[in-house]
Amino acid sequence: MKCGFCGFFCPVYQEERMEPAVARGKNFLVREILRGNQEFTPEMGEIIGKCLLCKRCVANCPSKTQIDRVVVGARAQMVKDKGLGFIKDFIFRKVMSNRKAFGRYVKLASKFQWIFPKGEGNIRHLPDFLKALGQGRHIPTIAKTFLRDQVEEVNKPQDGKEPTLRVGYFMGCATDFIYPEFGKKVIDFLTKRGIEVVVPKAQNCCGSAIYFSGDFETGRRLAKDNIDAFKDLDYIVTACGTCSSTLKDYKVYLPDNEEQQKAYEKFAKKIKDSTEFVVDVMKLNLGELKLKKEFEGKTATWHDPCHLVRYQNIKEQPRAILRALKGLKFAEMPNADLCCGMGGSFSVYHYDLTRKIAAKKMAGIKTTNADIVVTACPGCMINLIDNVAHSKMPQKVHHLLELVE
């Protein structure tokens, strides 16, 4: 049975209303490939590329079809058969997977920032930086000094006592290159509360944009880098929803043999998104968290990143924190779990669709009359800031941990 209910939940189908856009169409076509009735044509690449991997269809499929795996698997097979497209190849293999080179290119790009619109909307994710130019979007401001160059590898608890926990901090590209101040804030938040924070210099990109595009080979290399970089720690914490889900899901998408499966599973157990770490591991008394002064009296609404709400089932933790913050009003937006339209490199190739999908998010935000939009994924933040600016809306976009002293 091919019920087609996925169309109702698919942000891309809701815009296009054409069958190749939706999970049912993609599933059928991939099956045709498996049956030998269909080649990996450029059109096929276009079709399986046009998916946000937001997993709304997966979450609502009566037959529990794992469309994300179908799409990612097909992309991987395509990369194997045909190779990555030129631009993706250059960025993923030569730039992103080499942390130093990546940094250099980002720096180089930062010299040209004067050509982009000024103001708070100066945001855009980096991997596809060069390609993103000229599409009328707000490009991110690149930090003068990256986070990696600003922090020590070992950060002791501020009270000078023995640490209650030793955790690794996984920065993620966006925090490293665009939001270093936020990264320092995360470290401060943890060391203030008796935790030793280790920031291994050898950590690499999580690999999200890379392996979700089907480049499993580079993905496995990054997985190995990160597993090696974070040995002997109780937990690995990240404040990027996409990174936490990507690190946890090495085991889902990447294993090529049993050894890898085991290593990835072991690694996944240590990964904690910052929101679940605060609520489930640190078990902080949320009522004692102090709201930063600048947010007092403000109304906040929460945007569920796909990589938190559907990839990790993290839904209640951030809301619990927001509700507990005294002096802050919380207003739930309709469709809080609707994808913002970013989808990593999706938004580079389909920026027009990203804008249309984000418009629905903006409409939801407007109904709340919130002053701030809070989320926990720099990827979403980049897109939300871009679209708030385009819609000339007054809301500021913040990471949840930015709100707390």
């Binding site: 091919k2 087609g4 054409m18 059928f28 044509t41 096929m44 009566p62």
Partner: protein, 458 residues
Amino acid sequence: MIKESLIGEFEKIVGKENVLTSKESLKAYSYDGTTSWIHEPDVVLFPTSTAEVAAIMKIANAQKVPVTPRGGGTNVSGGSVPIQGGIVLALTKFNKIIRVDKENMTATVEPGVVLMDLNMALAREGLFFPPDPQSFLGATLGGIIAENGGGPACVKYGVTKQYILGLEVVLPTGDVINVGGRTLKNVVGYDLTMLFVSSEGTLGVVTKAELKLNPMPPARKTIMAVYDDVAKAGENVFRVLENGVIPNKIELLDNWVINRIEEMMPMGLPKDADAVLLFETDGIPEAVEKETEKIVEIARKYGAKDVRVAKDQAEADRYWLARRAGFAAVFGKAPTVFAEDVTVPRGRIPDLIRKCKALAKKYALEIVVLGHAGDGNLHPSILTDIKNKDHYDRAVKAMDEIIEGAVELGGVLSGEHGIGLEKQKFFRKVENPKVIDLMKGIKALVDPNNIMNPGKIW
């Protein structure tokens, strides 16, 4: 194959972006909700106005190119599969809700509006469109009208045909007609509106529909009753009704379905039960309370082992989610599934269930029964595998006998799915040849070149 030059004509009508010709796109329009029927069209067109549909039909008629209209493609009869190639007329972008008339409780819609989207918009006005085919998340109004869709709420509210006041239709010749109107009563000549309702897209393309709406009931309650004999559950259905309570839904799940649901999402359904009935009552709160009490009392009196009233909406939602998951469970458990759609007069439900059980034994098959017990529309499903010839042959025999059995009990071979391709051979078998000839005569009159969804029904 369609002539290359026609593609250019179509691009002029609907715009280049609304014409799909790539091999991949055509494959994505080769199927519907079934697993068994697959055929690619030559081109897929996305018109967004009556004028565009009319222009396309004129060309198709002149060139004698088959046209298969298609909405959400959620149908389970093979009806929207372009079995003779040609054009798939995809109406998914022709999807505006033109007007909601609160005073007259009507709505005017374009054919591509998805039922769930309509009901979400109507809810804001305190209204709803009662027919509820369970494909509501994807089914479009055009398709729902063409298939005369229905669902669980039929017990109380009936099916689509009771809610269609008027239609704008583009005929296969490209002429545009209006049938019916906007009034509740209308006896001006033959009721041609009903000719297009359940025409399965073989007589024309619905481009606009005038719908009758109901006010949204302010309260509803769900009752689950458990039985140790599925036939007893069947009897309970008419016992409730004969006692003067008309619930808006009465759904049946048998033991097999209950167990699959419990595997997929444990929710405390009794695994040893032979059958479960789910009732829903709706209306003004006081009436709902009374009706609920009455259902509980009658169910207990006539042999229900256990009766539970959902204490809140969340619990009720869980039961209904399980009901919807039931169908998926059936399809996930066997390579090939015959999902029957037989419908019998309500009082004969226990007979039909007994018949299914006997056939399962006779042919050593798994026959699952779930469906809309409240209106006699059961979906006995036979689990089989087309690759296992012996098993498959037995399944075919059992299916034949279920259908014959239903007809003998005074029923029909399809309650809500339609004939399409899936039930053609039974249609020929059980329908009176004179009636088939009359239908064919009407078809020839309306569609002289036989281009409108050809190859379906008979």
